[in-house]
């Protein structure tokens, strides 16, 4: 129910209890996806009237113990303590939705999965022993059951509001599983790959951003991660025709969604083609098994 602007926040616990309880959680991430919620300036105060924001440290110091009706989870799991914490959050949440590439596909920090993490530590810290970290960055779905994964680096605010509305109404979110190409068509953007020969990941990338990059005369760089059933081998052939070598194609699939199974497979194919870090392929295989076991979008 709605509360008027003048209602005292502590006046009516029964009113608060009647509203669905929303929690927002942070794991390893840049905060950009949580910020996307705060960037819904026009919707923020109406939303705060519709739901009880029970846990959202970025916005409030007032916290409420679980259970929660809807938990939004940002970030990937990179420490032992976080691996335990996500289990506790799942247990306290009726519905759990991941927001963004880190929570859904491990994020840019999943590049460690292809490297020796001790080497990473030594590159950044003089005394690595002070720092506690896991050797991998894994998506939330590698640890607990996830009710919905909202892709994007960062997520799109309109899609976020749709997901929140849908779960509060008890329905599935109406989120397209098509590619960025469909959004270019809808927007009337001339295809940058066809018209200008600009390499573009749009044909294999999940829609949702509104096809921003091509509208800015740039090829899509895949920050929303793979669409459902992408044909990456066909795209890689086109990218090769446009002059990209194996090293470059390997790189474009190893950015913000490197651990998403379809992009992982594409970067592995490029590596086997003689490109990037051929010595890392063992590590990739291990991580692929971990992630694919939990992800229904795995390219078979």
């Amino acid at each position: 129910m709605r509360t008027s602007a003048s209602t005292s926040p502590s006046a009516s616990p029964s009113t608060a209890a009647a509203r669905p309880r929303l929690a927002v959680w942070k794991f390893a991430s840049c905060d950009g996806c949580q910020l996307t919620l705060l960037n819904c300036e026009d919707e923020l105060l109406p939303l705060a009237a519709e739901v009880e924001i029970a846990y959202f440290l970025e916005a409030s110091s007032a916290t409420v113990a679980g259970p929660y009706d809807l938990s939004l989870v940002e970030g990937s799991v990179t420490t032992q303590a976080d691996a335990q914490r996500i289990g506790e959050i799942r247990a306290a949440s009726r519905r759990l939705v991941t927001i963004g590439a880190c929570a859904t596909a491990g994020g840019i920090q999943a590049l460690r999965n292809f490297a020796d993490v001790d080497g990473y530590l030594a590159a950044v810290y003089a005394t690595p022993a002070y720092v506690s970290t896991l050797s991998t960055s894994t998506p939330i779905s590698a640890h607990v059951r996830v009710d919905f994964e909202l892709q994007g680096c960062p997520i799109d605010s309109r899609q976020l509001l749709e997901v929140i509305s849908a779960f509060l109404a008890g329905r599935r979110p109406a989120i397209s599983s098509a590619s960025v190409c469909t959004e270019c068509k809808r927007r009337g953007t001339v295809c940058v790959m066809v018209a200008h020969g600009t390499p573009c990941l749009g044909p294999v990338t999940h829609a949702g951003c509104g096809a921003i990059c091509p509208a800015w005369h740039r090829g899509c760089y895949g920050c929303f991660g793979p669409m459902e059933s992408p044909n990456t081998p066909a795209l890689v052939r086109e990218l090769t025709v446009l002059g990209m070598d194996d090293r470059e194609t390997g790189r474009v699939f190893r950015t913000f969604n490197a651990a998403a199974p379809a992009f992982l497979a594409a970067s592995r194919d490029a590596a086997e083609g003689g490109g990037i870090h051929a010595e890392d392929t063992d590590a990739e295989d291990t991580d692929a098994e971990d992630t694919q076991a939990e992800d229904t979008h795995a390219e078979q």
Binding site: K26, D31, Q34, D42, T133, W216, F256
Partner: protein, 448 residues
């Protein structure tokens, strides 16, 4: 045995990956303050190795969703130095314009949703919105205008996509920028009104003693370029950063501490090594207080007038009053954006050609929270061999601990709950990135 106690201010509930404060007290004196930052390491400097020079801006923007433009433009400045290209004229003005949007967005977030609740006794900006809608609703409008500016130039507000090595993918049209004039005039008014409002708040006594460090550019309130200057007379190019500033690791934090190296400086460009353990140098503060202290004379007239009207004079050393400086900087950013738009002519090309080269480049810009330094070395085909990034929060960590020590020492007679709340406020004054966890501390006392 002297009477001693150990005050730990741990994370509230299940807030791993954030911060914790430990204070040791004996005989009425604070022996030690340690701000633990548990943010899990994400290893950007390591994962950049082997990537292309064209990827540094987009990859490092993912360090912070609140100030992605700062990361993009520090990275591009460093890479363009390696490539030997200068981005000037309208292409440079557009970068400053995009940065103005980020200052407005980030400062508005901190002022209205994170900082102001402290002064008005609320738990959150949302509660504040119920109690003081006349203040918060225009604040959200101001924040939205910052985001609108970033979206128009950059494609989106979080991790914008338009900036590239040598310039932009697409330069905005004259007509697109004209649409921002009305909103930016409104933003300038809101920021000015907010400055007047916050100047009337009750400010506890506090004074930071650290040296101020900020970019300085003659004739402009430095944002996206300039030389590195200090309140003690330092005046160096970005390329000399490594010879004057030292980063060190401390056992209690995943954020590296930065200090101003004791003289004489290290040899220039000495080690392309990991962040070294070092002898302790002097602490220094970056951010709004430092910028205002060093560059107030270059503020836009509207911002200078606002500062004078609300009684803000450089140097301002009370971190509680940084909220007023942020408002003045928002007036400046809106006014500066209007000036850039007024002078804008569409460039003939959105970018100048930039070829990869082997070399070392340094880039430094003023993130909303303060100086942000990037250094890259690349090989002939532009592959990144080494990267070093020094964020504002690691530079401010030591002066923040010193500030906490002073405040705690003067406040030991406060009840514990009030002392904890005072500590949280001191931390938030500096808008550290971990302040995403607003009000993230509770107090636990272990009497020794």
């Amino acid at each position: 045995m002297p009477s001693s106690r150990r005050i730990t201010v741990p994370p509230l509930t299940r807030v791993e990956g954030e911060g914790r404060l430990l204070i040791r007290v004996s005989d009425g004196r604070v022996d030690e303050t340690r701000l633990n930052i548990f943010e899990p390491p994400r290893f950007f400097e390591a994962l950049l190795r082997g990537r292309a020079y064209t990827e540094a801006a987009d990859i490092t923007s993912r360090i912070c969703g609140i100030c992605p433009v700062a990361y993009q433009l520090s990275a591009l400045a460093a890479i363009e130095q390696i490539c030997g290209v200068g981005v000037d004229g309208q292409l440079a003005a557009l970068r400053r314009l995009l940065y103005c949007g980020e200052w407005i967005e980030s400062h508005a977030l901190h002022v209205f949703l994170l900082h102001l609740p402290d002064f008005l006794g609320c738990d959150s900006g949302l509660e504040l919105a119920r109690e003081h809608p006349a203040v918060v609703r225009p604040g959200l409008e101001l924040k939205k205008i910052g985001n609108t500016l970033m979206t128009l130039i950059g494609g989106r507000a979080v991790h914008p996509v338009n900036a590239r090595v040598g310039g932009w993918y697409r330069a905005p049209t004259r007509g697109e920028l004209d649409r921002l004039v009305g909103p930016l005039e409104r933003a300038r008014d809101i920021a000015r009104d907010t400055a007047r409002f916050v100047a009337g708040l009750d400010f506890p006594d506090d004074e930071v003693g650290a040296v101020f460090v900020a970019l300085r550019q003659s004739g402009q309130y430095a944002i996206e370029r300039g030389r590195i200057a200090s309140s003690e007379g330092l005046d160096i190019a970005a390329a000399d950063y490594d010879s004057h500033f030292v980063e060190e690791q401390v056992p209690w934090s995943t954020a590296l501490h930065s200090t101003l190296a004791p003289l004489p400086p290290l040899p220039p460009h000495a080690p392309l090594a990991p962040h070294a353990m070092s002898a302790a140098g002097g602490s220094y503060l970056v951010g709004p207080l430092a910028r205002f202290a060093l560059n107030a004379r270059w503020l836009a007239p509207a911002a200078r007038e606002t500062a004078a009207e609300v009684g803000l004079r450089p140097p301002e050393r009370n971190p509680f009053r940084s909220i007023i400086v942020r408002c003045v900087e928002m007036v400046h950013a809106a006014d500066e954006a209007l000036r850039i738009i007024g002078d804008y002519t569409e460039p003939a090309f959105p970018a100048v050609p930039a070829r990869p080269r082997a070399g070392i480049g340094h880039g430094v810009t003023e993130a909303p929270r303060g100086l942000l330094y990037h250094r890259y070395s690349t090989d002939r085909d532009g592959t990144i061999l080494d990267a070093k990034i020094v964020a504002p929060t690691s530079q401010n960590q030591r002066p923040l601990e010193e500030d906490l020590r002073d405040v705690v020492e003067r406040s030991l007679d406060l009840p514990e709950a009030d002392l904890a709340r005072r500590c949280e406020r001191v931390i938030r004054n500096h808008d550290p990135c971990i302040s995403c966890a607003t009000h993230f501390l509770t107090l636990d006392i272990d009497r020794g």
